[in-house]
């Protein structure tokens, strides 16, 4: 009897998958932190113009978005082809904006409220009339911090 038995080699050894959960969890946490839930689907044509003097909006939870544009083809039959304002997940009129702003404010803790930004995502083809109406309503409801959403000009 020999002390050193020759090990019987049964095929290739299995790769240990013990660290797999760790890797996946790492990715998971990354996406959990980086994610922002899409709270509404966009129902208007929305190609924002390009600009150079861009500012990045930090604190996603303090950004309130208003979409303006021509309704997408599937909504054209009901809402027409004139530019519309989308608040949350429904088409609205400028008169609905103060209530929309208040509703958003209520969700934010008091000390952070002055930091709320309203981001206007306006399609480039829209005329200024409807944008002016929105701006007037924002001023009336005391929401003065505004962001004209734009992408980087190449």
């Amino acid at each position: 009897m020999s002390k050193f038995k020759k090990k019987t080699n049964k095929g290739t050894p299995k790769v240990s998958t013990a660290s797999l959960p760790d890797i996946v969890f790492m990715l998971l946490f990354f996406f959990m932190v980086a994610t922002k839930m899409r709270d509404s689907s966009i129902m208007v044509k929305n190609v924002v113009p390009a600009a150079t003097e861009l500012v990045k909006l930090e604190h996603k939870n303090l950004v309130n978005t208003i979409y303006i544009g021509v309704p997408l083809p599937q909504y054209k039959a009901v809402y027409g082809t004139a530019p519309q304002i989308q608040l949350g997940d429904k088409f609205s009129t400028p008169e609905d904006i103060p209530f929309f702003i208040e509703k958003f404010k209520a969700k934010i803790p008091e000390p952070q409220r002055p930091m709320i930004f309203t981001s206007l995502k306006v399609d480039g083809e829209v005329t200024m009339g409807i944008v002016s109406d929105v701006k007037t309503q924002l001023r009336k409801s005391g929401q003065l911090k505004l962001n004209y959403s734009a992408k980087k000009r190449q």
């Binding site: 996946v24 924002v48 990045k56």
Partner: protein, 181 residues
Amino acid sequence: MAKRMDNELNASSMADIAFLLLVFFLVTTTMNPDTGITVKLPPWSEDDAEEVKLNKRNVFAVLVNANNDLLVRGEPEEIGALRERAKEFISNPTSRADLAEAPNKAIISLKNDRGTKYETYLSVYNELKAAYRELWDTECERLYGMPYSDELSIDKKKAVRAKYPFILSEAEPTAYGEEEK
């Protein structure tokens, strides 16, 4: 020899659970942060604004009409040339009598029609902002040897901005060229 306790948790399903969550977050994620041009609106007041007499030389009036044409101080202009003109007006390097007395007295007045295209309006706004940013950059370079950026301390940024304050007054748009509802 005591038998070793075998109370390890079976973690083989952990990966599956984590994968499930991972896929969920991958699908719902929107990565790109919102970027744009930030503006501070003037507060709303019901009564009419009191008229302020301004020296005509200190006002840089920009008008964008419903045909998306530009009128700068009474003469037609291209968007591409707006930035340089605004810069010259604000800094007035040759002390001309028809340009701003001092950079902190310069006022930009922007007016548009209701029929103006948003894209045009925004690029005009962008050019005016760019003019100021370039002036801040030059001033910063002169004073502190670096361009205007977030790396500067707040005091320094304030000092530069006080020298060239960005004052933009927007008039109520005229109702010309509105789309039919």
